[in-house]
Symmetry: C2
């Protein structure tokens, strides 16, 4: 039985710096009705991602700002509960861009059917979803690691970082990760095959810690965090090193931002390439990614972890937790049961 | 008549931060004698360059450190005064890597004969030499400007920057330069065709000044200086902007270096590529450069300026002047007359 009320999270206000739960509001709306050719989807998992911080700003960016008093959006996976659509059937699992709400009606545009025999449902928001695709693209296309090189990954216990490190191992690199707790560091070396992990909160001199962990220098730095980790890595780079810039989560809530790395000039003499990228520019490569990462996943070479928060009402808390490092692997919000 | 004494400048000590004249020492040596197959060259102009600061450090870099109590070296142009060489003749003009001395003996290896009908002698250390080649390579291969785009050049009145800006105009860009005096800024817009120039010392809010000078944003930033100019440009970048990193002269004498740009994270959302390069990696492209820049020079589309300091004994002063912005265009030291 479909309920008669649809709950959604709207943007209540824009934060000047670190966002809080007060920037969001839970609202109830009447359950929408699918018209001719439309489907009604029940969301099961929704993604919260660091990039969403930029959508809370009223500023032009690669993703449009969320509007005040309108529902937030983002990646989600769910199940079709009613269908008037010619090819999508009730019971089908689909991904969409319409998270932050329990139900939605769609013409089918923007929905992708998911094959649960390949991977479980949460994987489509993580290892086989945008985080995995982002990591794969940034590592292989911008980082271009060669076997025997040293790869450093920051935010290494996060959704993208944990996959980048494992891909680096598959490609034959020495892999060193940075993370913010002892548990996360232990997870990297014990469960995910990283060669070394550095707790950036307790390491003291990050440069010395990196030098010890990377005796042959750093050839690829996959950047998720910015700040002090970046600065320390800049001092350890080998000639012709590559730095894919995936994100700089340490900087997202600073306004004005804090002073940047002192050692940027090392990029000149070392001929370093640093390149920002946004995965939505590269969706044409998604089938290539799915083929390669799907095979690694099937072969058990790519492990994935999700941190799952229950209930739409806790979605803001899950999102805020990203900036405190509360997630191991992909942070998801579970909105309802997988079957039914 | 060749004198009997050869003067040279040796490295006397390594500076901890800003170098001084005391780090150099003028020495007299007996005039060397060319052996069988060798030539004796009299240097006429020698180059002083910001990158030489890194050679004063006892630290591995792309160019080997100068050795204590041994003559410094660097680019120079001169004339053969005696020759026992089969193909190089007395009277030939040649370029070499053996500056910082009045005479030297060579087997001919590392010497290139110069054609003074193409360009005057000083041009081979500037517009047709390493500064021009560096600017051309960084701009066209890394910056890749398209007609109608906006190019910002820092250190725009310097040896490389002044040529980069003019090349940007030839390629159809709006070109904005930054420099450190009103005279230099006037030179850029009045003599070299820049669309706008910003005096970074007096502009106040550099970001606002750049925004006004670049109403359509910045597509290519040719980086010579680092520091505050870089930070301001980072806030004005358009999506898919490119930043060739040629140098960061503002940072060379800071130890430890000052904090870096606050707005580096703008590179992520704007998919910016920042890339360091060293021209000696790309000598295979020198003939391409010479063909293209030679044609521009011949057509009067590329103007060049030299600041010439007289006398080997003043070479350290000329070098130190680079860090105070005392040069307009290429800083050279003249060691003797062009003919004779």
């Amino acid at each position: 039985m479909t309920p008669t009320v649809n709950r959604q999270i709207v943007l209540a206000s824009r934060p000047p710096a670190m966002p809080t739960a007060d920037n969001f509001r839970l609202e109830e709306r009447p359950m929408p009705e699918p018209g001719p050719g439309e489907v009604l989807v029940r969301n099961i998992y929704m993604s919260v991602d660091p990039y969403m911080r930029s959508r809370m700003r009223d500023r032009k960016s690669y993703a449009p700002p969320w509007k005040l008093d309108e529902p937030c959006d983002g990646r989600a996976v769910g199940r079709i509960v009613r269908s008037n659509h010619p090819t999508l059937a009730a019971g089908d699992y689909v991904s969409s861009m319409l998270g932050w709400r329990e139900f939605f009606v769609s013409s089918g545009q923007g929905l992708s059917r998911l094959d649960l025999s390949v991977a479980p449902l949460p994987a489509y928001l993580g290892v086989l979803g945008i985080p995995g695709f982002t990591g794969w693209y940034g590592l292989t296309e911008i980082g271009r690691p060669k076997a025997g090189e040293t790869l450093v990954v920051s935010g290494a216990a996060g959704a993208t970082g944990s996959l980048v490190g494992q891909m680096g191992k598959i490609l034959g690199c020495r892999v060193v990760g940075t993370a913010g707790t002892e548990d996360k560091c232990a997870h990297l070396t014990r469960d995910l095959g990283f060669d070394a992990a550095i707790n950036y909160r307790t390491a003291g001199d990050l440069y010395e810690a990196l030098r010890r962990a990377c005796p042959d220098g750093v050839d690829v730095y996959f950047e998720n965090v910015g700040g002090a980790v970046l600065d320390a890595v800049l001092r350890c780079l080998n000639p012709f090193a590559r730095i894919p810039l995936c994100g700089m989560i340490s900087q997202y809530n600073q306004d004005p931002p804090e002073p940047g790395p002192r050692y940027l000039f090392q990029m000149v003499g070392n001929r370093v390439r640093m390149q920002g990228f946004i995965i939505s520019d590269h969706y044409d490569r998604y089938p290539d990614f799915l083929r390669e990462a799907g095979a690694w996943l099937k072969a058990g070479r790519l492990k994935h972890q999700e941190t799952i928060v229950e209930g739409l009402e806790n979605a803001p808390r899950a999102f805020l937790g990203l900036f405190k490092g509360e997630n191991l692997g992909k942070m998801l919000v579970k909105l309802g049961p997988e079957d039914g």
